[in-house]
Symmetry: D2
Subunit: 333 residues, 4 copies
């Protein structure tokens, strides 16, 4: 039985505890939070768990095999590093770290110590994202043209990061997973209206094969939108995560191009056919993710959402910040 | 009775003819199109109208008071210039011209000849846009934070312009009308997948008072979206032009900021209240616009959607093209 | 060339004229309306057409082959009868007649005179209804369980009929076409709030094979709904006629029933699979219907929406009225 | 501290336990279920609670003040009667009892023993229903014309009751609460396709002042719909419980009737104005309901959702069954 120590028992921590406890081969042995009220809630929900306000108690405990770091991003590096140095596997909330350099150091450290890092890109374990992965990998959409995500709602304001670091790690990790290509550059624009951090931002990501990605992230929207359009040569897909019943719709629509013999004209014709909404299971993504992490540890396999996956996202976040400071100029990656 | 000569009888021309004919003080006297099939349709729909394949017949006719230019943008300047030189008022399809220099020359020419120019920014005459103008001018939204438009659908591919010149003149003219401020710069990114013209583009517009605007224009979307979010300090608005019944929704939602006395902390709290959907009349916008143009001529008044309004839009389109060629770098206006 | 005489140039008449004129082998020769303003509009839209306020001029004219009766239902019988007696084919607005006895007489008369009757159940010529017919006849839904239609909106109040005679002929004719079975009985409830005619009504139709149909018709609804659910043993279908893009959705959902061996228990399990929205063409239904009527006359074929189809609908409307007067008691047909 | 004994720990029982435990002045002391697996889950979720498979242990326990009966309806009468005879207050799942006679006996027993009965019509404690009550009582809608509810989805099949007894108690209790009038009669039609119990039914309820109510309940729908239209003389309301954000919309739409002086004609004109969606709080209804029950007991007040409210619903359910057996004939109440 693998023992889990959870650092951070705020909004997401209780879900982490509940899901690790629901796995067969792991259980939560200790919870750490600086806030004593949060600790009291942890003990009430999970009688018998050790509680501490000192993260050192978790990372140095000989009884703990896995440390989960569910704290603000600015603390990820220190906590994960301490855990790895003490021989613990680490499960880190997204985004992985504040800088790419930190991420690289943690990856190297884990390799030397033969430990696992998993970055909590939970969306990759939803049925919707897995179904889209399957659709794209099966070639249903053909060559991809674009990936366009809108992720807007009112708040929640973060104090330590801007809207890009808060909302777009979801989009970066999903895009990275679905497209599976290395982008060449990033542009980003944004504005801060409420405090010094951008609360609205627009991100463009450029790929070598002419794919363009775009994320619209906004903490000041009156309505909650979670819509992604993916256009391909053969078909096009809409993922509306707010639709309880028909999250993914695949449209047999597009443009056919032919060249008339002996002529230079392109003939463009429109194609419109049936729409198909595959069944998407409900199931809790975090439950699947925690099971998968335990399996990776027990079978000594590298998770696909490992430190490298986390690093790729952090590199794009850093590039966004650089582009923000340079009037939306494209920053190469 | 003012006599109208219509140049261009393609997709939009029949609507122009029908609406000028429905005004009290004007009627269509002549139609010009190089395509003889189009001309035959014009005569069938409007028996008695003069028909010609030569635009010169229209612009030089002594019987014509107003020339409407409903042709591809690359021809606007020549046709409008010839009409003005021959003493005709001109009604020009959007975008006004291919370059700002052309627009400036036409404006100067019209002023010298004491003629009217109206640029056909039809959306400004819809009940939805007029209602939003009223809401914003009444201060209902408070200071504006952002203007964010999504205008995507499948096709129609234009041969002579990219998606920015095709779709975003709507957004630029509406934004110009509603916000009433002069932007300081524009960024744009896009990609061409089908032919050499961009079929997808993202545009950011920056204003001095921290307002940011954003347009998502796309010819390759499987679904048709026409949604604009406008965020303000006091309230926020969603305009969904695809919703037959509730086009405009005003949300009493936002963020309140207070500073605790003696502290530097910002306290951010969320506000969520009622939503209100004002009645929006149906009525054909082009009918109102053509009536208004006739009134402006008869009463010697300058239309608000005059050559200057057209020029402001063309300047932003030119800046978009420059930013497109420079990796999304902001171009000052 | 078949000559059409149109009686009634109110709301629907102009569509009838336009569509008969667009057929290859027919044209509208004369229009009749008691309202001189309506007649003037007819002549303006259709120069050269004969205009009269006397229906006798139409039904007795030796130049006319087809009479279309687009007048209030109370006048259908007299006008259609006069037309048939004068040797004209008739195209009659729905509902066919005020009583089943009238319908039977007209059917007999047409047979003796070897003339065609078509009842204008326009919906049967929409792509949506034709697609559903195809889906049901192909056995996609399996045995049918129910047919449930909601057809509600604000107004338009009719002076001569209640909401059942106004709105439910659509539902009765579509149900009759799709299900193709003879119902055994009808129940109906309703209330009149504004004047003496019911403005809200609920109709149940019973079939021998356990299918139940239900229509919710309402002139006092704040929202316009046009939704039909059709449940079958294998799959289920939703037709939302207000959805511009995805009018028909076929759900692979249902209930599977098994009996455990040696036990009397029914085991009920739920099935939930993909959804599929077949492409539904746009095209004007009335255009297809008028072409079809001309073809039926030229080829001496009986239209499927003939007098008998009209009679079946009138019988159900009469049964509804009887049930209304008897506290919703089922009336056998 | 009031001690609660919970009988029945199936689907709804855990919510009952959690919510009584969250009140200040009550806690759950014992849980009873015949299923040992369910009992084990109860103890796991609520360590320290007494667990039993015998309801007698609950109803006779001297430590228990309140018995909650969360079992199939056929057992409600026996369990509630035993609890009342032993001096316990009772909280009974809806519908209250299988027959009106049982309900009347329980009401009389509770009165003699000075005990409280609450019937769990949870919807009456949702913010949406409370907001509608406020709107109607404030006269916003004017005199009511109709109440029309659609409550359909796939399953869940009940073994002991038909779809009317399963789904329509929600509608009957909400209608009873909002309209506050005594109906004069009920009609109902339905069909059973899967087993011997009706899985689809349509219910009409008649009121003396010309209000008509209608419920569409269906276990065989491919889509889940929870929509209620309420029409009034002044305004109309739509309650869509599936809309996360805008559950209630009030439309300034309707029909105005005037009589021309000296004439018998009714002039009907349509009114269409703004729409308004009041803020509806989230909050768990059952939490509010359990708090309210405790308050009623502590302050010796009769709950508005008492045995009488439960009886009114059971009377209408009985009348539905009688109408079902009599071909939809209206049954007076």
């Amino acid at each position: 039985m693998l023992k889990v120590g959870v650092i951070g028992y705020g909004y997401w921590g209780p879900n982490i505890v509940r899901n690790f406890n629901s796995t067969e081969s792991a259980c939560v042995a200790a919870v750490c939070d600086r806030n004593r009220g949060a600790l009291a809630r942890a003990v009430k929900n999970c009688p018998g768990v050790a509680a501490t306000t000192e993260s050192r108690d978790i990372v140095t405990s000989p009884d703990i095999d896995i440390v989960t770091v569910i704290t603000p991003v600015s603390t990820h590096y220190e906590l994960a590093r301490a855990a790895l140095l003490n021989g613990k596997h680490v499960f880190v909330e997204k985004p992985f770290t504040s800088t790419a350099a930190q991420a690289e150091e943690l990856i190297g450290l884990a390799e030397r110590k033969r430990l696992k890092i998993m970055v909590d890109h939970t969306f990759l374990f939803t049925s919707a994202v897995r179904k889209m992965k399957e659709i794209i990998d099966d070639g249903v959409l053909g060559d991809l043209y674009y990936y366009d995500s809108t992720r807007v709602n009112l708040g929640l304001f973060q104090h330590d990061v801007n809207v890009i670091w808060d909302l777009s790690p979801h989009d970066f990790s999903i895009m990275d997973y679905l497209i599976g290509e290395k982008p060449v550059g990033v542009s980003a624009s944004g504005r801060a209206h409420i405090n010094a951090k951008e609360d609205i931002a627009y991100i463009m990501v450029y790929f070598p094969n002419n794919i363009i990605a775009h994320f619209n992230v906004n903490w000041l929207s009156p309505v909650k939108l979670r819509t992604t359009l993916i256009g391909g040569e053969k078909k096009m897909l809409v993922w509306n995560d707010m639709d309880a019943d028909e999250k993914i719709k695949v449209y047999d629509r597009g443009v056919d191009i032919t060249t008339r013999e002996g002529l230079y004209d392109l003939l463009v014709s429109y194609r419109s056919g049936d729409m198909w909404a595959p069944k998407v299971d409900q199931g809790e993504a975090l439950r699947i993710e925690t099971e998968y992490f335990i399996d990776c540890i027990l079978n000594d396999q590298r998770p696909f959402n490992d430190g490298e996956a986390g690093l790729r996202v952090v590199r794009m976040l850093e590039a966004c910040d650089e582009s923000l400071r340079n009037n939306c100029r494209m920053v190469t990656i």
